[in-house]
Amino acid sequence: MVQINLPKNSKVKNGNYYKDKTNSKNIRKVNIYRWDPSTSENPRIDTYEVDMDNCPSKILDLLNKIKNEIDPSLAYRRSCSHGVCGSCAMNMDGKNGLACTKPHSEIKGDINIYPLPHLKVKKDLIGDLSVLYKQYESIEPWLKTKTKDESSEILQSRNDRAKLDGAYECIMCACCSTSCPSYWWNGDKFLGPAVLLQAYRWIMDSRDEDRKGRLKKVADEFKLYRCHTIMNCTNACPKGLNPAKAIAEIKRMLALT
């Protein structure tokens, strides 16, 4: 009989507790997933008591406050702080989003912060996105033209340009792909909503001359058709985009050709 065990390091333990030292009357408990790859220790949940009277409104502010004032060893990605770079994507209160645009006032009770689900963790809140980037590269996200004449611009009508609305705004934060059960299951072969939305963006570009080739490339039972319209992607997108609709559009185009 086969006995199935989870790997030993899959168990998340209780970690350190950092008590408030400011004597604040307005304290919130923040539980954060920690894992240090340079030790053989299991992941742990560290708990920080944070003085909310002196903390700006977003989850990223909260993390910065913890890193600057309580524990500098906490590792997370961040860059622009206003929702345009996609670096600080993580799982907050059980939902994927950008730490810099998510107000902590929206979360009731203790604040639980984890890395994006189902990615290999590099450290603490930092997930390994290298598979996603390889998949992004595989859809060839650049303009492909056959004409060699590079002496003038390639013009685009306003209508054609408008077809890219809802697709070009994607910041590749991976909130959608890492919320998708199909991507959790077949993340190595299914392209996932983020990359398929980008595939759609290039298929729809009126200036591109490889639409047929692009469609043919994604028409694969894994790459595209592992999408079962679960719609978690659209629910997760912090930019309010609709990857599920873009995937449906690709399927429709393939069905009609």
């Binding site: 240090d36 790859p37 340079s38 600057n68 500098p72 590792a75 450290k123």
Partner: protein, 234 residues
């Protein structure tokens, strides 16, 4: 505006009597000062650095580099210097947290070297900005690991930034006029006679040496004439 001085081919310049190219060193974009923007780089004008000088730098590099040339040997000394700095900061066990020193630097720059400066604020700033610099001697880095160590990265960044801040403060103090983004309330007018030149600064720890390099007053072709700067009036 500020940056590493370069010519229009993105080659870094220094002065040694006269303008001289530093062989093999190029700078571009926000790191560089090609001197096309004058004393203030207005929004969106960064596009010229992307489109024009990105191309120029690539072309110049292709001219300069002979295929198959090995890299010049780096002296053991230089490698040691880098590793020593890395280890010193990583093993810092003092009492100053990087975040606290950085905040002190930010507050000093904001209050003493802000958009509008005076002799008084800059003079105070010159002393004050050196305090967080001294704090590095007793810096504390909690995370000693070697994988995704953001604590260490922020410390290395701070070590770079504080030198930049000292340079900025000292250069601003010595420029006793208003020009572009440098607005001195005690010297509201531009002084072309004395200051129509670039500030050059050498930073060695917390000591700086300030010197000047003249601006170019000629064009590269005869198609357009040289426009002398004039007073900005509204």
């Amino acid at each position: 505006m500020g940056g590493i001085p370069t010519n229009y081919k993105a080659e870094v310049l220094t002065i040694n009597g006269s303008e001289k190219i530093v062989p093999g060193l190029m700078a571009i974009g926000e790191a560089a000062c090609v001197s096309v923007h004058g004393a203030n780089r207005l929004g969106s004008n960064s596009l010229i650095d992307l489109v024009v000088f990105g191309r120029a730098a690539a072309k110049r590099a292709a001219e300069l580099i002979k295929i198959g040339t090995p890299h010049e040997k780096i002296s053991e000394n230089e490698t040691e210097k880098c590793l020593e700095r890395f280890d010193r900061l990583r093993n810092g066990n003092g009492e100053n947290k990087t975040a606290d020193l950085r905040l002190a630097m930010q507050k000093t720059m904001q209050s003493k070297c802000a958009v509008f400066r005076t002799d008084k604020t800059l003079k105070e700033g010159i002393n004050e900005i050196r305090k967080p610099f001294d704090g590095i001697n007793s810096i504390y880095v909690k995370d000693k690991s070697l994988i995704f160590n953001t604590d260490l990265v922020e410390t290395l960044e701070f070590d770079n930034l504080i030198r930049q801040a000292i340079t900025t403060m000292d250069s601003a103090y010595h420029r006793k006029e208003s020009r572009g983004a440098h607005a001195r309330e005690d010297f509201p007018k531009r002084n072309d006679e004395k200051f129509m030149q670039h500030t050059l600064s050498w930073c060695n720890g917390k000591e700086t040496k300030i010197d000047y390099r003249p601006v170019h007053k000629s064009t590269l072709t005869d198609d357009v004439q040289y426009f002398p700067p004039q007073e900005r009036i509204y």
